[in-house]
């Protein structure tokens, strides 16, 4: 145990120079590009696509929970809404995937803000219940409005997205597609985290009375937190729809929301690397431990409790990263 601790401490102290960072980045990009050719196993690529997709979803939920400080238990509602709106636009109007996705992002984020509007004054628990309740109403809507959504059977054979006359088809193409999206999400979150807007949102999260006192419009930041997070989830929903080629209400059930929340919590609220780590761990581990897949949800639950008791800030949290930075600076 102490050896592991020493190793972790050693890793924590590693600081790369700019040149080293550039080399590492190029190596990482080369690895991502070469990956589908190196591993010619469709199943492995599929698992990695799911990992990356959940990483994006976790980032979007973390924006709502970690940055804007609102507890949403209905994230699956935005994710599912994105999937259904995009699919319906593509199937009924023959719209291009990218245009349809854009519309569904705008639609979902407007909806997310409308949902958030009445709950602005409420505390965390109430918001959690409202979002959870709304997720349930949404699922009932999907199941019952058979004319629109084809009900519990779902919508099959969703066409592949076409870009400049080239159809994205097959696991490898989708792998590159989701990797581009993941990089874009990370870049966006980094930019967001360091921007004045992101900092203002964190201030509102920390203490909304103090935030009001320095002239921040707390309502605006809370609403936009939901709006941006919901829009990002809608983009992932659209990806899921075309990647899977079929969607049904069962893909957007309550357990999926819990999965995303546990990824956020395990990784660390308000942490970008934490979100990615949490998503990869909780998606890949159950696949590696297939023999124990029945125990997966039991473990998720136990893990959440244990995490909250021993390390409530998550594995790779913002606070512990900052602490580490200061420690290294102090040692110098």
């Amino acid at each position: 145990m102490s050896k592991i601790k020493e190793l972790i401490n050693k890793i924590k102290k590693i600081r790369l120079s700019k040149m080293q960072k550039l080399v590492a980045l190029i190596a990482l990009i080369a690895l991502i590009v070469a990956f589908p050719y190196m591993v010619n196993d469709k199943y492995t690529i599929h698992v990695f696509i799911l990992c990356a997709m959940y990483a994006c979803l976790t980032l979007s939920l973390n924006l709502i929970i970690g940055w804007s400080g609102q507890f949403s238990l209905g994230h699956v509602c935005f994710y599912g809404m994105g999937a259904y709106v995009t699919t319906l636009l593509m199937m009924n109007f023959g719209m291009n995937f990218f245009l349809a996705t854009l519309i569904s992002i705008v639609f979902t984020s407007t909806f997310a803000m409308l949902l958030c509007l009445p709950t602005l004054k409420l505390r965390g628990d109430y918001l959690a219940v409202i979002t959870l309740g709304f997720g349930e109403v949404f699922r009932l809507f999907l199941t019952n409005e058979v004319d629109l959504t084809k009900g519990p059977a779902g919508i099959p054979s969703i066409p592949d997205p076409v870009i400049f006359g080239y159809a994205i088809k097959g696991k490898q193409a989708y792998f590159y597609f989701i990797m581009i999206l993941l990089v874009a999400f990370i870049a966006f979150m980094k930019k967001f985290n360091n921007s004045g807007f992101g900092m203002a949102m964190m201030t509102v999260n920390e203490d909304d009375i103090a935030a009001t006192a320095i002239g921040l419009n707390t309502k605006k930041y809370k609403l936009l937190g939901f709006g941006i997070g919901g829009g990002m989830a809608a983009l992932m929903g659209s990806f899921y729809a075309v990647y899977m080629g079929m969607i049904s209400p069962t893909s957007f059930a309550y357990a999926e929301s819990i999965k995303m929340v546990s990824m956020v919590v395990l990784g660390g609220m308000g942490s970008i690397p934490g979100s990615i780590l949490g998503a990869f761990l909780l998606t890949a581990l159950p696949e590696l431990l297939r023999a124990f897949s029945e125990y997966r949800m039991v473990l998720y639950g136990a893990l959440m409790v244990v995490m909250m008791i021993f390390r409530p800030e998550g594995m790779w949290s913002r606070a512990s990263r900052l602490k580490n930075e200061y420690k290294i600076k102090a040692e110098k």
Binding site: P118, V129, V137, M269, E294, V298, M304, M307, M308, E313
Partner: protein
């Protein structure tokens, strides 16, 4: 037809009221939502079902044993998942931990008992007709058990020392401690009493629908929570009142508007109430102190 729907609503409302009390009392004392409450209820119902079908325990003993088990489980949940949490952002941490506990219990039940639906029928189900309304023996039983349980709870909370201590804790837990009340014990007791009521409610609802399954707590719990919010969370009469209102609204909505959206009505009502009157119908207005 209207009175029939009303009656059905009142009956299911009684069950919601009993479950809602558990949410409301815990919230009153600790200001946290016990998300695992409904899953504790489901576990208790399973135990009752196993006792009745495999061990052939007499009905009354079965109900008491199962409810006692539920109470112990409820107290254990508090001990394991809520008490050890000491984080700077305690509210969020407890919320996540409670959610984890709920997921844990639900999936543990799926592992242990299987994910299928089991039958559970130990009470009289003959139908009677009173004044043009159909009522089954089961429904009469639910109404009378609800009434008795609520009466016992009323006496306990308003007429005994334990109840006074509980109410003191819900006013201010620090001051209660200064007055020499063993607050940890009272918190445990509150969880226990809430879970006991939930255990009885679970057995009744399991028999009412003749079905026990690992996810049965989810919807029931959500509706009961909606009831607790509707009546004003933390208020005991509020929870009872809210339970009956949610039951009636659901029954009338399913009867007159759309039965496919039966489960949506309680959520929509809850969202509406939170917009109009966030403190609930009978709840005290809460002021956040700086």
């Amino acid at each position: 037809m209207f009175f029939q729907h009303l009656l059905n609503g009142l009956i299911i409302g009684g069950i919601y009221a009993m479950v809602a009390l558990g949410y409301s009392m815990v919230y009153g004392v600790l200001q946290i939502v016990n998300w695992a409450h409904a899953d504790v209820l489901m576990f208790g119902t399973f135990i009752g079902m196993l006792l009745a079908t495999f061990l052939h325990v007499p009905v009354i003993a079965m109900v008491l044993l199962a409810a006692l088990f539920t109470a112990i489980l409820g107290m254990a949940v508090e001990r394991v998942a809520y008490r050890p949490i000491k984080s700077a952002n305690r509210r969020m941490a407890v919320l996540v931990s409670a959610l984890g506990m709920s997921t844990f219990l639900q999936n543990l039940a799926q592992l242990v008992f299987g994910s299928g639906t089991r039958q559970f029928k130990v009470f009289d189900t003959n139908a009677y007709e009173i004044g043009g309304m159909k009522i089954t023996g089961m429904q009469i039983l639910i109404l009378s058990v609800t009434a008795v349980m609520l009466l016992i709870l009323y006496i306990m909370v308003y007429r005994t020392k334990l109840g006074i201590a509980m109410r003191a804790c819900s006013v201010s837990i620090d001051n209660a401690k200064l007055m020499g009340i063993n607050t940890n014990m009272i918190i445990s007791g509150t969880f226990g009493v809430g879970a006991f009521m939930a255990g009885v409610a679970g057995i009744l609802v399991g028999n009412y629908y003749n079905a026990v399954y690992p996810t049965m707590g989810y919807l029931l719990g959500m509706k009961a929570f909606a009831a607790a919010i509707l009546g004003g969370i933390g208020s005991i009469p509020g929870a009872v009142f809210g339970g009956f209102i949610i039951g009636v609204i659901e029954s009338l909505g399913a009867g007159y508007i759309s039965s496919a959206y039966r489960d949506a009505f309680s959520f929509l009502v809850m969202i509406l109430i939170l917009i109009i009157r966030p403190a609930g119908l009978l709840g005290a207005k809460h002021i956040d102190k700086v």
